[in-house]
């Protein structure tokens, strides 16, 4: 790690060939610290009483019975799955916002999440005996179909981010109607279960689900590094990106496909985490304005922090009140989002 200075005087830090501004690194470490602190508190929320000694015993491999079950089978998998799902959705949101050059773009708004959901619902409704391992493939098929439709409908090269966003909204609206029809005409109990899942849930997060999500999380780390540079040129606009040598005909479908894979993996693990893809990049930008790789990584970390905090809220009231993860996420994230927007507006006013 070699300290240096950028042309604007800001401190730079190098990791091999990668270069970050020190303030981005500090923001990243802060978010990691918050995620770790929330995770620690989250391990202590639940019916089974768990203290620091239980966690120490678990680390030594000596924890059994109720506390061992609660930590190994319930709480740690939920934290890990929440971290990875939140990371993937927020990262996808940041990618799509750069691609569309619109701060409203996210996997939900472009119809990718709806594509996944429709395919998952079709599989559950018409092949209830299908093995659960098919769900991620169904989710990816649905989202890929939406991405393909978007690429075809928007056309190659010439159309801008706004066209992509508007076409995405049209596709999303159509697919959400299909989702509603499927739920309406499914048997009442299944309809209730599906509605519950559509509101977001980490209740299915067990060690196997964490292992299934892990490869996608690792894949997203690689993609954040690889696609970061391309996305920083997209932030400047498509024409400027092309003049800087960015092959948009190749990189745009590639970014869409990566977004599809990551949002599908997250939807399969936790259901659609509505608005997270918009909220997390905004909050990360408020904490430390960035573009390219730092923006992707900070957005991913912010998404992970928000989902862990939301799951804490869900589990702290669980038992008598059904508080879906999506609702908790709204309760946790939206006030922060509103405050950050107000503070940003006040800052802009004071700078005039």
């Amino acid at each position: 790690m070699k300290p240096a200075r950028a042309t604007d005087g800001q401190e730079l830090v190098h990791f091999g060939h990668l270069q970050f501004r020190a303030r981005h690194l500090r923001a990243g470490l802060l978010l990691l610290g918050v995620a770790a602190a929330l995770s620690l508190v989250s391990t202590m929320i639940g019916v089974t009483r768990i203290g620091g000694s239980d966690i120490t015993a678990l680390l030594r491999g000596g924890l059994v019975d109720d506390a061992g079950f609660a930590l190994r089978e319930v709480r740690l998998p939920r934290i890990a799955a929440g971290f990875m799902a939140g990371w993937c959705v927020a990262l996808t949101g940041a990618m799509l916002q750069s691609l569309a050059r619109n701060p409203l773009a996210d996997p939900g708004l472009l119809g990718l999440s709806q594509g996944s959901m429709v395919m998952i619902l079709l599989l559950i409704l018409f092949a209830p005996a299908a093995p659960p391992m098919l769900l991620p493939f169904a989710a990816m098929t649905g989202a890929l179909a939406v991405a393909l439709a978007l690429v075809l409908l928007v056309g190659r090269g010439g159309a801008g981010g706004l066209a992509l966003l508007l076409m995405g909204i049209a596709v999303e609206t159509m697919l959400s109607s299909v989702t509603q029809i499927l739920i309406l005409y499914s048997p009442p109990d299944m309809s209730y279960a599906l509605s519950n899942w559509l509101a977001g849930s980490l209740s299915g997060a067990d060690p196997a689900a964490v292992l299934a999500l892990l490869p996608w999380f690792l894949f997203s780390l690689g993609m954040a590094v690889w696609l970061g540079r391309s996305l920083s040129t997209y932030d400047l606009g498509q024409d400027l990106a092309m003049s800087l040598g960015e092959n948009v005909n190749r990189s745009r479908p590639l970014i869409l496909v990566v977004s599809v894979l990551l949002s599908s993996a997250a939807v399969t693990a936790a259901g659609p985490l509505a608005f997270l893809g918009v909220m997390a990049p905004h909050l990360a930008g408020f904490l430390s304005p960035a573009s390219g790789r730092p923006r992707l990584i900070l957005s991913g970390l912010m998404g992970a922090v928000l989902v862990i905090a939301a799951d804490m809220l869900t589990r702290s009231v669980s038992g008598e009140l059904a508080l879906p993860l999506g609702l908790s996420l709204t309760l946790v994230g939206v006030p922060l989002f509103v405050i950050s927007l107000r503070l940003r507006a006040l800052k802009t006013l004071s700078n005039r």
């Binding site: 019916v47 089974t48 499914s186 299915g204 067990d206 038992g319 508080l323």
Partner: protein, 317 residues
């Protein structure tokens, strides 16, 4: 050497403790010899049939830690009255969101779910054996769920006793019902739904000799229609003219009696009393779905009571 003598009795005792059966999803499940702490993942479809032949679940969805119901209807109390499980089953988390720690705290020796719980089975097996009973996908009807559960838990005698009680009631009522008549049953939620074949009410109605009026939305070709309920349009409902129209209140509503169901129907389909022929001719039986909707003998008995009361009233008029 002494181990060689000890091993056969040990193996034999293990063999009597558990039996492997195949559940509705084709999974091999090791069922304990006499499970005493059963948790059900669906109260009306599984819990009530179990309690009906005397096996009280220790936990189910939609209940608080003290056993009080968090749902619009307490099916155990409504259907079984004084015979409802005592103490009431404790909650295992909010509806649709199982709290694994709460579930484990109940120390279950068997978890029974429906085929719709297949996605949770592997996760729950870490706590207790999970048996998935065909209940929700239209493959069983009437009392079959209760009969299969009784066989699973070796309580067939108790089930047959309950069926004999039901048969006695049925034999008393059947002679006053004209033969060869048709029926249709609907349940009124925020829209009108045709009731399928898997409730105690339908078993009782068909045992009395009524035949289901054939409809396009119903039948073996429509898998969803053969389960509990499937939505129908108000227009289709308005044209219905079975000899007996059975209208069930919504179990999600606050009021389950005739007046409440009429009010609900007024909201969904204003003016229904004027153009619905069975309404004009007094051929409607009102039933409380919190009593008759489960696939249990007790629900079927409540349905017989409702038809008996309607028949007595009709003969007076």
């Amino acid at each position: 050497m002494r181990l060689l003598f000890l091993l056969p009795p040990l193996l034999a005792s293990h063999a009597t403790l558990a039996e492997t059966v195949t559940d509705a999803m084709g999974r091999g499940v090791e069922i304990p010899d006499d499970p005493s702490r059963i948790v059900v993942l669906h109260e009306p479809l599984l819990g009530v049939p179990l309690a009906d032949f005397g096996v009280d679940p220790v936990g189910s969805y939609g209940r608080a830690d003290d056993g009080s119901s968090l749902m619009a209807a307490d099916f155990y109390a409504s259907i079984l009255g004084d015979d409802a499980p005592d103490p009431a089953p404790r909650g295992i988390g909010a509806v649709g969101d199982i709290d694994l720690e709460r579930l484990r705290a109940l120390s279950p020796d068997l978890i029974i779910g429906t085929e719709l719980d297949a996605d949770k089975a592997d996760q729950l097996t870490a706590i207790a054996p999970v048996y998935l009973q065909a209940s929700s996908s239209g493959k069983v009807r009437g009392f079959e769920t209760e009969k299969q559960l009784a066989a699973l838990l070796d309580r067939t005698d108790a089930f047959e006793d309950r069926r004999a009680e039901y048969q006695e009631k049925l034999d008393r009522l059947k002679p006053i019902i004209p033969p060869g008549q048709s029926y249709l049953a609907v349940i009124v939620h925020d829209k009108i739904n045709l009731v399928g074949e898997m409730s105690g009410a339908i078993q009782a109605i068909e045992d009395l000799g009524y035949n289901r009026l054939p409809l396009k939305a119903d039948g073996p070709d429509n898998a969803l229609g053969s389960t509990f309920a499937v939505p129908i349009s108000s227009e289709a409902f308005g044209r219905m003219n079975p000899d007996l129209l059975v209208i069930l209140s919504s179990y999600a509503g606050a009021s389950h009696d005739e007046a409440g169901t009429r009010a609900q129907l007024d909201r969904v389909m204003p003016g229904w009393e004027r153009f619905l022929k069975p309404a004009r001719e007094g051929r409607i039986v009102w039933m409380d779905s919190t009593k008759v909707a489960t696939p249990s003998i007790a629900s079927a008995e409540h349905a017989l009571d409702a038809i008996e009361a309607w028949s007595a009233q009709a003969s007076k008029n």
